[in-house]
C-alpha cells in the first residue's frame, strides 16, 4: 500500500518536472530519429550521390560533403553508433563500477583498501590519452571495441560513488536484520542495498552514458573512431581534415556537433530533473 502510494507520488512529481520532460523529450526525439532516420534518408551514407559541397537544399537536407555524400544520411546513421557507444560503454562502466563499488563498500577491510587504491589509480590516469595509445595500435576498429575500451576505463567514477552509498546503507537496521537471518552477502546487496539506491544507480548510468558518448566523440574526432561505418565524431574529423572550415561548409560540421550536444545535454538535464524527483530537498520551492 505505502509502496504504491510512494510510486504515485514520484510519478506526480515526474509529470510536473519541466527539466525531466525537456531532457527526456530531446533524448527520445533522437532515439526515434535513429530508428526512423535511415528509412527517411534516401542515400547510402558513404555513396557519392550529389554535387560536391552543396549547401542544404530540398534534395539534400543537410547539404553534401566534399565527396558528394549526403550529410543527412551520414547524420542519422552516425546517431546509431553514438547511442550504441552510450549504452554499451556507459552500461559496462556502470556494471563494473557497481561490482567494484558494492564489493568494496559492503566488504570493507583489506578488499576495500585494495579496490580503493585500484579505483584511485585508474581514476588518475587520463582516460582519453590511454584510449588514444591503445586505439592507435588496433588496426581494425569497430563501435563495439570502442565501447568496450571506454567501459573498461571509465568505471572508477561510478565505483567511488556507489562505494560511498553502500557504506552508508550497510549499517542500517534492515541490512543488519537480513544479515542476522543468514542471507548471503550477494543476496543482501541485490535485495536490500541496491533497491534502496536504485534511483542513484539509474542516475549514475545516465551520467556514464553521456560521458561515454563524449569520450567516443573525442576519440573519433582524432581519427581513432570505427574504421568502417560512420559516427558523429568521424563526421567532424573528416570535415576538419578536408578543410570544411576554410571552405565555409558549415553544414558538414554543425549537425554532428548539435546532435552530440543535444543528446548529452538532454541526458544531463534529465538527470537534474530525476534528482529533483527523487530528492525532495531539491524540489523547487
Amino acid at each position: 500500500m505505502t509502496k504504491g502510494k510512494k510510486r504515485n507520488e514520484l510519478l506526480y512529481f515526474a509529470f510536473r518536472n519541466t527539466k525531466l520532460k525537456i531532457g527526456l523529450g530531446v533524448v527520445l526525439f533522437f532515439i526515434v530519429l535513429t530508428f526512423v532516420g535511415p528509412l527517411i534518408a534516401k542515400y547510402n551514407p558513404t555513396d557519392s550521390v550529389g554535387p560536391a559541397g552543396a549547401p542544404p537544399s530540398a534534395q539534400f537536407w543537410f547539404g553534401t560533403t566534399t565527396f558528394g555524400e549526403d550529410v543527412f544520411s551520414q547524420f542519422v546513421h552516425g546517431l546509431s553508433s553514438t547511442f550504441l557507444v552510450g549504452i554499451v560503454g556507459g552500461g559496462l562502466g556502470t556494471i563494473l563500477g557497481m561490482t567494484i563499488g558494492f564489493a568494496a563498500g559492503y566488504r570493507g577491510g583489506n578488499l576495500d583498501e585494495v579496490l580503493n587504491v585500484l579505483t584511485n589509480v585508474v581514476l588518475t590516469i587520463p582516460v582519453l590519452a590511454l584510449l588514444v595509445v591503445i586505439s592507435a595500435y588496433v588496426k581494425v576498429r569497430g563501435v563495439m571495441i570502442e565501447s568496450l575500451f571506454i567501459g573498461v576505463t571509465t568505471w572508477p567514477w561510478a565505483a567511488r560513488a556507489i562505494r560511498a552509498q553502500t557504506f552508508s546503507l550497510k549499517t542500517r537496521d534492515f541490512v543488519d536484520l537480513a544479515r542476522l537471518s543468514g542471507e548471503s552477502p550477494v543476496k543482501i546487496i541485490f535485495t536490500e542495498i541496491a533497491p534502496n539506491m536504485a534511483s542513484y544507480l539509474f542516475m549514475t548510468f545516465i551520467l556514464m552514458f553521456g560521458s561515454a558518448i563524449l569520450t567516443a566523440a573525442t576519440l573519433d574526432f582524432l581519427g581513432l573512431g570505427p574504421t568502417q561505418g560512420i559516427s558523429l565524431g568521424t563526421m567532424m574529423n573528416l570535415a576538419v581534415l578536408w578543410s570544411a572550415l576554410m571552405l565555409g561548409m558549415w553544414w558538414w560540421f554543425i549537425p554532428p556537433g548539435i546532435g552530440i550536444t543535444a543528446i548529452v545535454g538532454g541526458l544531463y538535464i534529465m538527470n537534474v530533473g530525476l534528482d529533483e524527483i527523487f530528492n525532495p530537498k531539491l524540489r523547487e520551492m
Partner: protein, 330 residues
C-alpha cells in the same frame, strides 16, 4: 597529514608505474609488430627481409628476454630517453614534446583557473535565484554536453572564417619567427585566444552547475538552518555555504583533470595549435608510435603533478586535513 600525503604518493607512484607498463606493453603485445611495419614500408624482398628483421630486432633490443626489455625501458625513461621521432626524424621524442609543452601550459593553466573561479562564483550567485536557475542553468548543462572540439570548430568558423577577427591555425603567424618583440607576442595572443575561449566556456558551464547544486545542498544543511534561526544575515549564511562547497569543487577539479586535458588535446587539433594534442594527431597520421607513447607519458606526468598541487592546496584550504581528522580529497 603525513598519512594523507603517503597515501596520495603511493597512488601517484602506482599510477605512474602502470602508465609506463602500459606504454611498454602495448607495442609488444598488440597485433601488428612495429618492426613488421617498418619492413613492409621499406618494400624489401627476399633475404633482405630477414636480415633487416634481425637488424631492427637488435636495434630496438627486441631480441632480449622480456624482463630485460622491461628493465631497459625503465632505465631509458630515467635517462629521459623516449626514443626517436619518425615524423620529425631524427629529433628525439623528449625534445619534440618539450617544445610543445609550453603551449599546453599556456592554454590549460589560465583556462582551468579562470573558469574554475568564474564558474564557482557564478554558480553560487545563481543558486536559489529562480530566474537565473531557469534560464542560465539549462545553458550550463548544454555547455557541459558540448564536445570541446565542436565548440572550437564553431568558434573558429565564426570568428576566424566568417568574421575574420582571429587567426585559426598555428601558435603564431607563419610569417614570423619567434622573437621577444611586441608584434610577435601579439600574434601569440591572437592565436591563443580562441582555443582558450573554447576551453573556458565548456568548463565554465560545468563549474557553475556543480557549485549551484552544492550551494543548494549546503543551504539545506543543519548549520545553515541554525545560522538562519539565530538571525544571521542571508549573506553570511551563503558565505559559509560557499566556503563549504568549495572543498568538493576542489576535489572535482582533481577528478576532472583528465577530461579537461583530453578536451585541450582535441581543441589543439582544431586550431592546429602546436601543443601535445597536435603532436598526437601528427603521430597518429604518421604512425609515429614512439612519439605517441611519449605524449601519453607526458600527459600522465602532467596530470599527476597537477593532482599533487591540488592535494597541497587542499591541505592549505581545509584545516581538517592538517589536523589528521579526515581523509580530505581522497
Amino acid at each position: 597529514m603525513a598519512k594523507y600525503f603517503r597515501r596520495k604518493l603511493l597512488i601517484y607512484l602506482l599510477t605512474f608505474i602502470i602508465a609506463v607498463t602500459v606504454d611498454w606493453c602495448i607495442p609488444r603485445f598488440m597485433p601488428g609488430n612495429p618492426v613488421d611495419l617498418i619492413i613492409s614500408r621499406a618494400g624489401l624482398k627476399g633475404s633482405a627481409v630477414s636480415q633487416m628483421y634481425t637488424f631492427y630486432m637488435q636495434a630496438f633490443g627486441l631480441d632480449q628476454p622480456i624482463w630485460k626489455q622491461y628493465l631497459n625501458f625503465w632505465i631509458a625513461i630515467f635517462h629521459g630517453d623516449l626514443g626517436t621521432s619518425i615524423f620529425l626524424f631524427p629529433s628525439p621524442v623528449t625534445k619534440v614534446i618539450l617544445g610543445a609543452v609550453p603551449y599546453d601550459l599556456a592554454l590549460l593553466i589560465p583556462a582551468i583557473l579562470t573558469s574554475w573561479f568564474a564558474g564557482n562564483n557564478f554558480g553560487a550567485f545563481a543558486a536559489r535565484s529562480k530566474r537565473l536557475d531557469n534560464t542560465l542553468l539549462p545553458l550550463g548543462y548544454i555547455l557541459t554536453g558540448t564536445p570541446y572540439m565542436w565548440l572550437g570548430i564553431v568558434l573558429a568558423w565564426a570568428f576566424g572564417i566568417a568574421w575574420r577577427i582571429f587567426p585559426i591555425a598555428g601558435g603564431y603567424s607563419f610569417a614570423m619567427r619567434p622573437a621577444l618583440t611586441l608584434p610577435f607576442i601579439w600574434s601569440l595572443f591572437q592565436h591563443w585566444f580562441l582555443p582558450f575561449a573554447s576551453l573556458f566556456i565548456v568548463q565554465f558551464g560545468g563549474w557553475a552547475i556543480g557549485m549551484r547544486n552544492l550551494i543548494i545542498y549546503e543551504l539545506e544543511a543543519d548549520y545553515s538552518h541554525y545560522l538562519a534561526a539565530l538571525g544571521a544575515p542571508k549573506r553570511l549564511v551563503r558565505k559559509y555555504a560557499f566556503q563549504n562547497a568549495m572543498l568538493p569543487q576542489l576535489t572535482g577539479l582533481a577528478l576532472q583533470l583528465g577530461v579537461i586535458v583530453a578536451g585541450a588535446l582535441a581543441t589543439e587539433v582544431v586550431f592546429s595549435y602546436p601543443g601535445i594534442g597536435y603532436l598526437i594527431l601528427q603521430a597518429i597520421h604518421n604512425e609515429d608510435y614512439f612519439l605517441l607513447q611519449g605524449c601519453f607519458l607526458f600527459v600522465v606526468i602532467g596530470v599527476l603533478l597537477a593532482n599533487f598541487i591540488i592535494d597541497i592546496t587542499y591541505v592549505i584550504v581545509d584545516p581538517r586535513t592538517r589536523a589528521g581528522m579526515q581523509g580530505g580529497a581522497s
